[in-house]
């Protein structure tokens, strides 16, 4: 299987597209390309990255408008064929709007934008996004958002928890999922989830911002390294 390629989607207003591209291409050393929201060709990439930012100005609801861009139809088909998709921050919001992931991201309980380093516990280290981490490891990864308060109905919540689909959870320095450690009011301190098939991940924290120790920590590299490994290691999912 040739080396994996990452495609970073650029919506009008995405501002973390360069960051994700830099993390994958210059730090991880994998192939990466940009995908313009008006295009309909995914250029055969293996992993689609929906980056952070304020796509389409997020005035109505974060990600509400970008779900209709032409590229997203292709991204949904890519996911339905088993292709890997990771939505970071605004990207997670877009995934919930398109229905690739359940629930919604409401306004932070504090009503304020929050940007700080938080601690995440790896809840499921078997997914294609976390296989390079040990189970239960606590990572230091920054959040930067105004609408990261994950909500879903109680049945879906139970389904997520019971099937190991909660991948990251906000925890304190002792690794406990306390109210104080919750930066936005998300149910059960949920920070990141996968779909039932396990090929689509949405997370509010920004792993691409901590892939070099110069910037504080490289805890985030494992997400992209896991993805690269799951593509080359596994039988090609796109038969």
């Amino acid at each position: 299987m040739s080396a994996p390629t990452f495609g970073v989607v650029v919506f009008p207003g995405s501002n973390c597209d360069h960051d994700a591209y830099h993390a994958v291409k210059h730090v991880l050393g994998e192939k990466a390309t940009f995908l313009w929201h008006k295009d309909t060709d995914l250029q055969g990439v293996d992993v689609v990255v929906l980056p952070g930012g304020f796509s389409y100005g997020d005035y109505l609801r974060c990600g509400a408008i970008s779900q209709f861009s032409s590229i997203m139809k292709e991204v949904v088909r890519h996911a339905e064929r088993g292709g890997h998709v990771i939505g970071i921050c605004n990207g997670f919001q877009v995934l919930t709007e398109t229905g690739l992931l359940p629930g919604a991201l409401l306004r932070n309980r504090s009503l304020k934008f929050v940007c700080k380093q938080v601690r995440l516990r790896v809840e499921n280290a078997e997914t294609d996004f976390t296989r390079r981490y040990e189970q239960g490891k606590v990572l230091q990864i920054p959040v930067a958002h105004g609408e990261g308060n994950f909500y879903t109905d109680s049945d879906t919540l139970r389904e997520l928890e019971d099937n190991g689909r909660v991948v990251f959870r906000y925890v304190d320095e002792n690794g406990e999922a306390t109210e104080a450690a919750n930066p936005n009011g998300s149910l059960n301190n949920i920070a990141g989830i996968v779909n039932s098939r396990g090929n689509v991940l949405g997370m509010m924290p920004h792993p691409e911002r901590v892939v070099e120790n110069l910037l504080g920590s490289d805890d985030g590299l494992g997400v992209f390294a896991s993805l690269a490994e799951s593509i080359t290691g596994s039988v090609p999912a796109l038969s």
Binding site: P12, G13, N15, A23, F54, G57, F113, V114, G146
Partner: protein, 661 residues
């Protein structure tokens, strides 16, 4: 078709022109101006655009030399060479008066405006900083202003996608009713990709790009030049609303047309909108423009020539494209869902001709309107303020030394001027663009420069109380502190931008403060070899009972030669030696301690020896480069005690210290 009022001396006065200034207009035109022309002169000769009461003094500052690629005032922002074929554009500007009326939008549009000044030079913004002053934090109106300003700065920077990495915030009753909201931006550009704010080449198309035009902030420029008195609330100027989402698109489209070398010149539209950009670009290029306002995309019906010319709608730029490239410019802007409309062409008669509804509304010599051209230049009268007699008479020995020094320290640490501002900067995205090695909370912010071993260190600094107590020395201290802060991170101070916030220049005491402060700033800049690259003057900052503290905010840029030299502020390891560099003077003059603990604002500004200070910066950076320094923190507000306390608790690790005085 609007009928324009007949112009009289009375109408000229109403638009803010003095009788002498109106006479100058008559002389330049050789006839009575049309209402539209009078509007252009009134907004271009406002204090905000013409610097008429400050340019004579600003010219005495060191404004060239060092690593400057562009002298101060020549372009929208200063441009400094940092090697590797790269240059840094940076500038600071004020949005004090709009923020006093509508804090959220006032601050947001302040950030939007300074970001445009950076990318109009072809530079991609990589960092934003701010410098804020408010009145007494117990006052409900002040709390409303603080909440609005902080969320406005966060809203614009976060949505646009630039990290807000450094700033300062002071509270003093002197700023009651007239907050200071200064926003700074820093961008990086390759030497060969810089753009200039000029217009030349007869026939080249003039295009307006970005958002459509409305009646936002008309009289915005002149509004900033008038005292914020009681009746300004009733004026209710229509507030300018910022749209950071559109500005992000404007950034990307602008950088693309510059990279493809499609244009002759470009300037952002700030105060005085189309009037200012068209006149300044024409004057700079020694050319003229013929503009048809009917072609300008407008948002409200029935706008007159006067309104379109003076509108300060946000997120717009004026572009002079090379003939034949209009279509390509349009394609790039449409890709980013933005307008790009040709509204006229360059002429060689050095006149700005303006048409509306098929009629010529104005023909004015471009140069006669602009700063450095025909705009008036005044030399105001100065008088040494009387308050200095009483403040200078203060003797430190006249106040009792408190018994329990640790109680004093605890009290100082709880002062709003010293306590942590985490509650504010955690509302700012400080790590987008993944370049932030150090964000807010330390001496200065450090932004690494990708694809090089270098990093930039940026900080805003000023202690208004020091400048109040001794305008000349206080301003020198502001430059010295900013230089010291960047040196503490391992950076060599390079150049400054400044935002000079003062009272009403027609008051001789205020003008004395302004002139003395500029003199002090100049002395420090010459000593440190950090030229002034440009900035902003904001006069008429007055609270109900007088001028606010004279506050010349300094925005300092430092260069870290190698990212291994990046130095934290907090103590890192037990057992390290603690060294105090520089002399410790028995100096509580003008200190936060004197003001908070004893309720006295008195004495001279603290001790400063510019030569000693310069050698200190050099020695510190040199020691850092030799790998001998683990951390460095500047002794400032609250003195040595607060500095040592901060070194113990602002880092990740909680660490103690033992010191013998």
């Amino acid at each position: 078709m609007q009928h324009e009022p007949v112009v009289t001396e009375e109408i000229a006065r109403e638009l803010g022109l003095t009788d002498e200034e109106y006479q100058m207009v008559l002389d330049y035109l050789g006839r009575t101006p049309t209402y539209t022309e009078l509007g252009m002169y009134s907004v271009m000769w406002s204090e905000h655009c013409s610097y008429k009461n400050s340019i004579a003094v600003l010219k005495t500052l060191p404004r060239s030399g060092g690593k400057l690629l562009v002298g101060a005032g020549e372009e929208n922002a200063g441009l400094v060479d940092i090697g590797d074929g790269l240059a840094v554009a940076f500038k600071i500007e004020s949005h004090n008066h709009p923020s006093a009326i509508e804090p959220f939008q006032g601050a947001a549009t302040g950030v939007g405006g300074i970001l445009r000044d950076i990318f109009t030079m072809g530079a991609r913004p990589v960092a934003a900083c701010d410098s804020l002053r408010f009145g007494d934090p117990a006052n409900p109106r002040v709390q409303y202003l603080v909440k609005g300003v902080v969320s406005g700065i966060g809203h614009y920077g976060n949505c646009f996608g630039v990290p807000t990495v450094a700033g300062e915030m002071y509270f003093d009753s002197s700023y009651q009713g007239n907050p200071l909201v200064n926003a700074m931006a820093v961008g990086i550009v390759r030497h060969e990709q810089t753009a200039s704010a000029t217009a030349h080449g007869k026939g080249n198309p003039v295009m307006i790009v970005g958002s459509s035009t409305g009646r936002d902030g008309i009289h915005g420029a002149t509004f900033a030049s008038v005292d914020l008195s009681e009746d300004s609330e009733s004026k209710r100027p229509s507030v300018q609303v910022g749209d950071p989402f559109t500005e992000k698109l404007l950034l990307e489209a602008t950088l693309e047309i510059i990279r493809e070398d499609l244009i002759v010149g470009i300037q952002d539209m700030g105060a005085a909108g189309i009037t200012c950009s068209s006149c300044e670009m024409s004057a700079k290029g020694k050319s003229g423009m013929d503009i048809d306002l009917d072609l300008v995309p407008i948002r409200e019906e029935g706008m007159s020539a006067y309104e379109i010319l003076l509108s300060e709608s946000q997120e717009r730029m004026l572009v002079v494209a090379k003939q034949g490239n209009e279509q390509r410019v349009k394609e790039i802007f449409e890709k980013w869902d933005l307008h790009a409309v040709t509204i006229g062409h360059v002429t060689d008669d050095s006149m700005v001709t303006v048409r509306r509804d098929g009629e010529v509304k104005g023909v004015v010599p471009a140069d006669s309107l602009v700063l450095g051209g025909g705009a008036p230049v005044y030399h105001r009268e100065t008088r040494r303020p009387e308050y200095l007699d009483t403040t200078m008479a203060f003797r430190p020995s006249s106040v009792p030394v408190p018994g329990d020094v640790s109680r004093v320290l605890i009290d100082l640490l709880s002062s709003p001027n010293i306590a942590s501002k985490r509650w504010a900067y955690e509302q700012y995205d400080t790590s987008v663009r993944t370049n932030t090695a150090y964000g807010p909370g330390g001496d200065a912010a450090v932004i690494r420069v990708k694809d090089t071993r270098k990093a930039l260190s940026v900080k805003t600094d000023c202690n208004g109380r020091y400048v109040y107590l001794n305008p000349r020395k206080g301003a020198s201290i502001a430059v010295a502190e900013a230089a010291r802060n960047v040196a503490c991170t391992g950076a060599e101070p390079m150049a400054i931008t400044n935002c000079l916030n003062f009272g009403n220049p027609y008051k001789p005491e205020v003008y004395y403060q302004f002139k003395e402060a500029c003199a002090g700033m100049g002395e420090a800049c010459r000593m440190f070899g950090t030229p002034v690259t440009g900035g902003n003057v904001s006069f008429y900052n007055e609270n109900p009972n007088g001028a606010v503290y004279p506050t010349p905010v300094i925005g300092m840029l430092g260069l870290i030669a190698d990212i291994d030299h990046i130095t934290p502020s907090a103590f890192q390891q037990e057992g390290d030696d603690i060294v105090l560099l520089g002399q410790n003077h028995d100096d509580i003059n003008g200190s936060e301690y004197l003001s908070r603990w004893h309720g006295i604002t008195g004495g001279d500004a603290p001790h400063l020896d510019l030569d000693e200070e310069h050698r200190l910066h050099g020695m510190l950076v040199d020691q850092i480069r030799q790998g001998r320094i683990r951390c460095a923190h500047d002794v400032s507000d609250g003195g040595l005690a607060v500095t040592l306390a901060e070194c113990c608790f602002i880092g990740e690790k909680r660490i103690g210290a033992e010191v013998t005085l």
